[in-house]
């Protein structure tokens, strides 16, 4: 009764190709935006920001980035952690090198630098596919972590080998550094997430997205209809790198504050983001959000249940958490290989006809 598209007709092709062609979806989207921008910033505290919202938003950007590459263009990447590190270190170098320029511009530039680096590492994809490409990007991951450890110029020759974000503000509001308010952290990430998601959606619904999906579904057929495979794959790497770089920059500057490359941007980050898009749904922007929410919320939820609810010791809870989330991932892959986005799609299809399914 609450999900209806009857009487909801598109009368122009641009109405039909909008992001939410169904009125109900569109209003729900506006409501979510209104709550995210208008309500949550007033209620948020440090715990919710640091444990839930900020990591969720940042991982959502990274997941959108990887989803464009893997979900839309079909090029598997295990280098997401390393690519996030590129974003983080470029942001650090820019912040310390040009302190008078706004952090927002630094973050966007970091995205641009990462896009260039990722495109470079995407070059092997012109020759190799599937597992072999995954191994090539894995090499990128290890190379980048090694590079940021080895060359001390990247961390300004600091003795600890760490990078730490200096205090920067946007419109007089502090957004990085230890004195940042929870709502400021949340809001700057939210702005970036919103813009990234809109850009990603625009790119994927138009001719560029169709080129990527054509390459993903059948590269020979894509070539025969006039898609230049090299250009299509490299633009996917580039756009993906841009988003992943922004995610890396925010992860370091806003969320962590101080980072060490092996610890913050190791191989486990690559897998984490990959799990997000697999669980969320490959080839879906909504799936990127759903997957990021799932992977961020699940440990928090389990910890609250085990430690807070049942009063078990922390170490036991931590280990159980690995077991539970691991088995949930396996269950998910078996039961719904297309992820949460597919469940959502099915639910919508059912709801269209509910309560009269015939």
């Amino acid at each position: 009764m609450f999900y209806r598209e009857a009487g909801d007709f598109s009368t122009t092709y641009s109405q039909d190709s909008q992001t939410f062609p169904i009125k109900f979806d569109r209003y729900r989207y506006y409501v979510v935006l209104a709550i995210a921008f208008g309500v949550i910033p007033f209620l948020i505290n440090d715990y919710w920001a640091n444990a839930v919202f900020v990591p969720f938003l940042i991982y959502a950007i990274a997941a959108i980035g990887l989803n464009i590459l893997t979900g839309y263009c079909g090029q598997v990447s295990l280098g997401t952690g390393g690519f996030m590190a590129v974003g983080a270190y470029s942001c650090y170098k820019l912040m310390t090198g040009f302190p008078e320029i706004s952090i927002v511009i630094h973050v966007i530039l970091s995205g641009g630098i990462t896009a260039a680096v990722v495109t470079l590492f995407g070059l092997p994809s012109l020759r190799i596919k599937g597992f072999y490409l995954a191994v090539a990007t894995l090499a990128a991951q290890f190379f980048l972590v090694w590079l940021f450890n080895k060359v001390s110029w990247f961390y300004n020759y600091s003795a600890s080998g760490q990078i730490s974000a200096p205090e920067r503000s946007v419109f007089g509001i502090i957004v990085t550094g230890p004195n940042t308010e929870a709502w400021a952290k949340y809001l700057i990430c939210l702005v970036f997430v919103t813009l990234c998601a809109i850009i990603a959606r625009n790119l994927t619904r138009g001719s560029m997205g169709r080129k990527w999906m054509a390459i993903r579904d059948m590269d020979i057929a894509a070539e025969i209809i006039g898609v230049n495979p090299m250009a299509a794959k490299l633009t996917a790497f580039m756009v993906s790198g841009f988003f992943v770089g922004i995610a890396g920059a925010l992860f370091f500057a806003v969320y962590l504050g101080a980072a060490e490359v092996g610890e913050s941007f190791g191989i486990d980050k690559s897998f984490l983001v990959l799990f997000m898009i697999i669980i969320g749904g490959l080839g879906s922007i909504f799936g990127s959000f759903a997957g990021a929410a799932f992977m961020v919320l699940l440990p928090v939820f389990l910890k609250n249940v085990f430690v807070g609810g049942l009063g078990w010791p922390t170490d036991l809870a931590a280990h159980l958490q690995f077991i539970v989330s691991g088995s949930l991932i396996i269950m998910f892959l078996i039961m719904e290989p297309h992820g949460l986005a597919q469940l959502w799609r099915l639910a919508k299809e059912k709801l269209r006809l509910w309560p009269f399914p015939h």
Partner: protein, 272 residues
């Protein structure tokens, strides 16, 4: 009437134009195997040209040469009055040659509409930044191309399955969607690799009608490979017959039907 040179009028009164594509002395080898041996033929504007031959005759290889998958060791391909340099398949597509495949090659993860829209990709030039903004140039381009695509969807009578994922469609409809995708490119030359393979009589009739209508309404030049002799003889204006990589016949269906070499190739001949 001389069908081999210049313009001519078909039996049903259609005026056939100048040479659109000419294959000159094409030889294609895979290692020691000679797939195509010294074949020449031409395709005129507005014509339906069939390539037939027994299995393994080199018909599909010929189509792959035209669409740029294979590069012949010898010979020249002339298209629209100019010699074509060695090209990648996507460059051939951008020149205005579209094709369908023997085994359906649709994009299974996309809807019918998106599949047909991919046929318009050679016509969509908006840059990445305009697309990221969507409003304005990108949206305008999308709508313009959508209008073209909708005409083709109407033409092939697949309106009802517009939003259906291609993977859910039955075989005959998939073939039709693939034809729609090729047509969406508004090609100068349309290559059809066994458009009726695996279809029942009714589906074959439908497909034949669509092929004739496409030729008639859009004036598209069509080159097709087909095994069903009845269909080939009814549809095509001129037929090339291949056997073991050689050309053994070329002419109107009637001429080919009475060609002794062709009869030998299809019915067999005693070698003693």
């Amino acid at each position: 009437m001389n069908a081999m040179t210049g313009n001519y009028t078909t039996a049903d009164g259609r005026q056939i134009g100048d040479t659109l594509m000419e294959m000159k002395n094409i030889t294609l080898r895979f290692g020691g195997v000679v797939a195509i041996k010294d074949i020449s033929f031409d395709i005129h504007e507005g014509e339906i040209r069939a390539i037939i031959g027994p299995n393994g005759a080199g018909k599909s290889s010929m189509l792959n040469v035209i669409s740029g998958f294979y590069h012949p060791q010898e010979g020249e391909v002339w298209f629209r009055g100019a010699k074509r340099p060695t090209m990648k398949p996507y460059q051939v597509a951008q020149q205005g040659i579209a094709r369908t495949f023997q085994n359906i090659a649709l994009f299974n993860g996309m809807s019918v509409l998106d599949n047909v829209m991919t046929g318009r990709l050679t016509h969509m030039k908006t840059g990445m930044f305009a697309q990221a903004l969507w409003k304005g140039k990108a949206e305008k381009e999308e709508v313009e191309n959508r209008e073209v695509v909708e005409k083709i969807i109407d033409f092939l009578e697949i309106q009802a399955i517009r939003k259906t994922p291609v993977g859910r469609l039955p075989y005959g409809l998939k073939k039709r969607v693939e034809l729609a995708r090729a047509l969406a490119a508004e090609p100068k030359l349309l290559l059809l690799d066994e458009p009726m393979a695996g279809m029942n009589v009714e589906e074959k009739e439908d497909m034949s009608r669509f092929i004739l209508d496409v030729n008639d309404e859009f004036g598209t030049t069509i080159a097709l490979i087909e095994h069903d002799m009845g269909v080939v003889m009814d549809l095509s204006d001129r037929v090339v017959v291949m056997d073991y990589g050689r050309k053994i016949g070329d002419g109107t269906p009637d001429e080919v039907r009475n060609n002794q070499d062709v009869i030998d190739a299809y019915l067999g001949v005693s070698h003693d």
